[in-house]
Symmetry: C2
Subunit: 211 residues, 2 copies
DNA sequence: CGAGAACTCGACCGCGCGGTCAACTTACTG
DNA sequence: CAGTAAGTTGACCGCGCGGTCGAGTTCTCG
């Protein structure tokens, strides 16, 4: 429907507006982390010490706000993956990436935006591009680890992207009591990627593009 | 707050009321499965071909309705675990149980009720009891498998209960496109439970009671 | 069959949400 | 320093939700 308004050689923001935008993104990230995606716009505005209307000046809808945060996170993970790719040991590089991914997932569930379930998102273009970059980077990480024998051969980058969200979910119910519990289950998942004695997987991986 | 009203030697329901109750539970299960826990009472009532008020006659609040469904599922899983415990191979018994658990999680996310995050639930007593029964049964399953060397020694029943929810989450975003994808990730998780070459786990398991 | 208890029903209530807008304030520019 | 475009604001709107209730209906049992 709405053309992604992608090509916006936007005029520069006014100084105060730029500041408010940052305040809003920070407040939204914090509020979403605490209350989940159902955090209210009013609360976010209050936290940013800004009028409710200002939120909608910067982000035409709540989805746009969420999308902005998601894109930032995806880009950050992409950067991490790329820099880890430059590092030495493929196995630990992959584990380090999984840790970073799970850690972010711990803060806010964006897994829906990591996949095709984005039918409801307003500006899919931004998310899709960011996601594609990330999946590419992760797949490079996985391929290298696989060639070196650090992970089983039947695992793809798409699998890793999906699996890195799982520990946060598994530990989610006990998050309050044991905030670091996810590390335990991340290690279990990582061990599930070992090549030694792996059982054949009963379903093909999702195609990289369709992630 | 509310005393669990547990000891209710309830008078028998009228015939039509009993029928409606079943219709409601079925409709609610279906609606929750399709729309998630945010499915509306009105939709459930419509699906059950029943007035909205009737829903509240049978279940004083939406939480009570969810709780009723959760208890039924927990009991069902408990039963499965116990009958699998009577079976032969400990390893496959555990895998079978994980499959059942993940399958149910696929239908409706009740993981919050599998753990202590039940502060918001109205009748914790019912859920807590059902959960305790299940955890006990699962722990027996795990202990047997561990003794036989089918799973790593540092894994407990509580871990298994939490981990069986993970595959549904990992595959969740692509549920529409690949409804069976969770099986792939369930196998990865299961492989993560193998004893051979497991890395030490970086966090203690949650105590059985606190699950 | 008739009385009354048990149950059903949907209009109704209050609330909090995402989103709008016209009046106001503020930062930039010449 | 003025003029104006850019940005801010909070009262306001419509909506859909969970939950209530009294009038109406239906089962049950003597």
């Amino acid at each position: 429907m709405t053309p992604p308004e992608s090509s916006g050689p936007r005029r520069p923001l006014r100084a105060d507006a730029a500041r408010n935008r940052e305040l809003l993104l920070a407040a939204a990230a914090a509020e979403f982390a605490e209350r989940g995606v159902d955090a209210s716009i009013a609360d976010i505005a209050r936290r940013a010490k800004v009028g409710k209307g200002t939120v909608f000046n910067h982000f035409p809808s709540k989805d746009h706000l969420l999308t902005a945060i998601a894109v930032a996170r995806l880009d950050q993970l992409t950067e991490s993956a790329e820099s880890l790719l430059a590092g030495s040991d493929p196995g630990t590089a992959l584990l380090d990436f999984l840790t970073l991914g799970a850690e972010q997932q711990q803060q806010l569930d964006l897994s829906a935006m990591f996949a095709g379930g984005t039918a409801d998102i307003q500006d899919p273009a931004g998310v899709d591009q960011a996601r594609e970059r990330m999946v590419r980077a992760v797949d490079a990480l996985v391929t290298r680890a696989r060639e070196q024998g650090a992970v089983r051969p039947d695992i793809t980058g798409a699998d890793v992207v999906l699996l890195m969200c799982a520990p946060a979910y598994a530990a989610g119910p006990l998050r309050q009591a044991y905030p670091e519990l996810w590390r335990r289950y991340l290690m279990v998942v990582f061990d599930g990627l070992r090549p030694e004695g792996a059982h054949p997987l009963p379903h093909p991986p999702p195609p990289l593009g369709h992630l």
